[in-house]
């Protein structure tokens, strides 16, 4: 019965993707400029600078609208769950030199 429930959950896309991945913003840098996560993982950006930053998908000359978060001040947090494998670049709209990327790889069943 338990196995059947698990199979149903997996088919429905409810599989656990593991704990959130963390990226800190400190001294105008993303702590992990290139981060690899499994599909389904939530990435959490937290601002440790006492100034506004953004987490905006794409590049400064070509924001792509996949995600956009505002980190208004120190302590602010932005979360985004990455369900589809791929390479997601992002930057800070206020400080274009601040860039990062999330590389999302297919989730392997049994991983947590």
């Amino acid at each position: 019965m338990q196995q059947a429930w698990l199979a149903l959950a997996l088919c429905a896309g409810w599989e656990a993707a593991g704990p959130p991945a963390a990226v800190e913003v400190h001294t105008f840098q993303f702590s992990q400029p290139s981060l690899e996560v499994a599909a389904g993982t939530e990435v959490v950006w937290s601002n440790r600078d006492a100034i506004e930053h953004t987490v905006t998908s794409g590049a400064p000359d070509s924001a792509d609208g996949v995600f956009a978060g505002r980190l208004a001040d120190s302590g602010a947090v932005f979360r985004h769950r990455f369900d589809r494998p791929g390479r997601y670049r992002y930057f800070c709209e206020r400080h274009h030199f601040m860039r990062g990327e999330i590389r999302v790889v297919p989730h392997t069943h049994g991983e947590s």
Partner: protein, 210 residues
């Protein structure tokens, strides 16, 4: 001492000090006073070179402007290397981007003055004031001994001081230009001393008090 020889002398002191700052921490400690001297030299040099650059730009001396701007950028890189030696390469790179940004705003202001474009001048001043907040946040983030608002205020004063130099240069009022330039260069001590003190306090094992 002429302006260029003063700059050359300052660059030599800064280079020597930065070499010392960049050495592995385990190999030596640097006197806190040497750190203070290095930052004072580097930041004052920034003002002298910025003024040489704006003067050349306003005078339409493009060759001199190019060389002065290159020297100014070399100073920026040296300052960023000093920050990077303390807070890591990434922080040094972020510092350099921020520092170059404020120089860009000064170029915008100088161009606005040259063209008598008040709107461009006002925008550049607004950008410089906003930049002061960013720079205050950067240093406060790197070092908890540096309050953001205090640093931002000092950087705003720096911007206002250099603006006065550019205005006097544009008016051909050389007595005022050089008086304001001396003030602007001396003001950098207001930034360099607290910065050096805060770094020495944050890393007492690396910066020895003598």
């Amino acid at each position: 001492m002429s302006l260029m020889s003063r700059i050359g002398s300052g660059a030599a002191v800064l280079a020597a000090a930065l070499t010392l700052m960049s050495a592995p921490a385990s190999a030596q400690t640097m006197a806190a006073s040497d750190l203070r001297t290095a930052l004072n030299t580097g930041l004052a040099e920034h003002v002298w070179l910025a003024a040489a650059t704006t003067e050349a730009a306003l005078g339409g001396r493009s060759g001199e402007f190019k060389d002065a701007a290159a020297a100014l950028d070399a100073n920026s890189v040296a300052l960023s290397q000093a920050i990077g030696s303390v807070y890591g390469h990434g922080a040094g790179t972020a510092f350099l981007e921020l520092w170059r940004k404020h120089i860009g705003f000064f170029v915008d202001y100088t161009n606005g003055v040259a063209k008598k474009d008040k709107a461009a001048q006002d925008k550049a001043v607004k950008d410089l004031m906003g930049y002061a907040e960013d720079f205050g946040a950067f240093l406060a983030s790197a070092n908890p001994n540096l309050p953001k608002d205090v640093v931002a205020g000092l950087v705003r004063d720096h911007a206002v001081g250099l603006k006065a130099v550019v205005d006097a240069q544009a008016a051909g009022d050389w007595p005022t230009a050089y008086a304001k330039l001396r003030e602007a260069a001396a003001h950098m001590q207001m930034i360099a001393d607290p910065l050096a003190g805060a770094i020495a306090k944050q890393f007492p094992e690396k910066y020895a008090m003598k």
